[in-house]
Each structure stands twice: as C-alpha cells, then as structure tokens.
C-alpha cells in the first residue's frame, strides 16, 4: 500500500504525493516539534522534509513502513537544520525566572506531581529547554525520544540511523548531564 503510493507519487501522480503529505504530516510535525517550539519553524522544517522525501522516493523500497522512512528523513533533516543554526546561549542557573523557581519549589514540596495546568506545562517546557541546552542536538533527541516518548532503543536507532549502542551511550550521557544541571538549579534555589 505504502509502496504503491510511493511509486505512484514517484511517477508524477500529484494526488498520490498529496495523500502521503496528508497521511504522514502529523508524524513529521511530531518529529519537528522535538526540535523546534515555534510553529513557523516546525512548518518550515516539515515542508523541507516532504520536498526532500519527494526527491528520494526512488530509494524507498517498501521494506519498512513509509512512516518509518519519513521519520528518519525528518530526524536527519531537523538535525541538519539545528546543527546549522546559531547555538543557544549557555545554560546559567541565575537566569531562572520567578515562574520557574516557583515551579521547582512546588515540585520539590511534593504538591505538584505532573504539570497539569497550561501555565505549569509552559514553565516545565521552558525549564526542559534550558536543561536540554547543555546537550548536543543528537543527545537531546535520544533523551526526548526515550524518556519523553518512551521509545525503545531500537526505535530510536531506526529513526536516526545510529547503532543501538550509540543510542544507549547518548541517552546515558544526556540523562547524566541533565540531572547534574537540574541539581545545580535546585542547589541555587536552596541557596
């Protein structure tokens, strides 16, 4: 089914390619959202993914799913965009906003649990971006996929093209760095 659709699109059937875009854009957006938080950036990246996919349709042999194939293109395309972009400023604990400090206090006191409200989610997400800024884009992906989306090591390896041992090393290193950065935040808050 996927292979037929891909072959039709490759043969110049516009409606077949439009169907691929319609069917898999939620998945591509989901991948791009891991890298970017602003809608224009996510849309730009997703469009680039589909244009690249169109030129590479001939390389899809139907051995795996079209969704998996597109996920890999999306991951690598977004990684390339992020690598080419200006690096974010270094993580500094003194930059904590009042909301972030309040969220940490609330969570440490044990009355927070999961961030439920929209405001709490935004603060937690901002905080996550701060912590993730200490990592390379590749380590960020490994951590977000495994700890954030509960993806298996094998799934991450398939989506990125890395070996499973590389994924494990990246996730371990990322988890440690983020934990240490969070420890710094907590000790700063206590001080």
């Amino acid at each position: 089914m996927d292979l037929d659709l891909a072959r039709q699109a490759q043969a110049g059937d516009e409606s077949a390619f439009a169907e691929i875009v319609r069917r898999y854009s939620p998945r591509v957006f989901s991948v791009a959202s891991r890298f970017f938080r602003q809608r224009p950036l996510v849309e730009e990246a997703a469009q680039e993914v589909f244009l690249k996919a169109y030129t590479q349709l001939g390389s899809f042999e139907g051995r795996g799913s079209l969704e998996g194939w597109l996920t890999r293109i999306a991951t690598n395309t977004c990684l390339n965009i992020v690598r080419g972009a200006k690096r974010r400023p270094e993580f500094t604990v003194s930059d904590l906003t009042e909301d972030e400090q309040g969220w940490l206090e609330q969570q440490s006191a044990g009355d927070g649990g999961e961030p439920a409200s929209v405001e709490n989610t935004v603060v937690a997400t901002d905080l996550a971006d701060r912590l993730l800024s200490v990592l390379s884009p590749e380590d960020q992906q490994a951590l977000l996929m495994i700890d954030g989306e509960q993806a298996s090591i094998k799934e991450v390896a398939e989506a990125t093209g890395w070996s499973e041992s590389k994924v494990k090393v990246r996730a371990f290193r990322a988890r440690r760095k983020v934990r240490e950065a969070m420890e710094k935040l907590l000790s700063y808050k206590r001080a």
Binding site: E14, F17, A18, V21, R22, S25, P26, V28, F29, S30, A32, S33, R34, R37, R39, V42, E43, A46, Q47, F50, L51, Y54, L104, Q107, S108, G112, E114, P115, T121, A124, T125, L127, A128, D129, L131, L132, L143, L144, M145, I146, D147, G148, E149, Q150, F172, R175, R176, V178, R179, E180, M182, E183, L185, L186, S187
Partner: protein
Amino acid sequence: MPEGNQTNKHITEILDRASIAMLSESELLEIHVHTMDCMSCRDAFEAARLSAVVIKSRAETTIEPSPFFQTRVMAALREQQAVESVPAMLRLWRSAKALVSTMAVTTAALAVVSFTQPSQTTPVLDQTASAYSAYSVIMDQDADEQMSYEQVLSTIYEDDDDAR
C-alpha cells in the same frame, strides 16, 4: 568511606541508565533505602525525578499541522519542479543576465571612447616624438653647424667691412 562513594556511584548509575519511570521495583527500593541516609544521592534522585517530569512535558509539546499545510507543500513542490525544468545553462544565463549586459555596455562605451579620442591626442604625441627623436636631433644639429665655403667667406668679409 570508599564503600560509601562506590554506593553513591552505583545509585547515580542506576539513575542515569534509565528514566525513573523505567526503573524496576528492586532498583527503586535500593535507591529508597540508600537515600534515607545519603543526602547527595537524595539530591541526585530528586534532580532525576524533576528532570524526568520536565522532559516528559517537553516531549508532549507537539504542534499539529495546519489545514493548509498540504496545499503549501504541493505549491512548493510545483515551484521546485518549475525551477528544475529550466535547463541549467538557461538558469545560469537568467541569473547572470544583468551582469553580462552591464559588462557589454561598458565595453562598448570604452570602445567608442578609444576610437574617437585618438584623433586629438595621437598627432601631438607624433610631433613630440619626431621633434625629439635621436635621428632628427643629430641631423638638425648637422644642418645648423655645417656651412658652405661661400657662407664662411662672406661672413669673414662682412666682419672686415664693418671694421673699416
């Protein structure tokens, strides 16, 4: 103390090996027992727990495609195909057309200037060149200095007549 440090290292390795949500019951129990007496591992565990919460929150923040996204991609695809359908040399010509035209006009203008101006400047140069050529200087000098026999005699007698 080294034993304590080893245990601390062991606890942090458990924390870093997998997300807290993925730790087994026995691992969580081991951490719980250890952190009752160990402040640094309690801090590490707390940091790991909060990190897991924010990472999960970040992963759940996804942007859905807009209803126009499909149209946008198809338009971009058509635009890309239109660009690719034009031969490479023609695309090169289109991009370089302005520059080539400017260069052609400049060359033509320089050519016009070169062919019209020489009528005023070249003769002057020729005259100057002829006036100061080595050959003419020598020959002119010879012409001035060489006098005929009659001229010499008349010059001498003119002087004598004046003396008288």
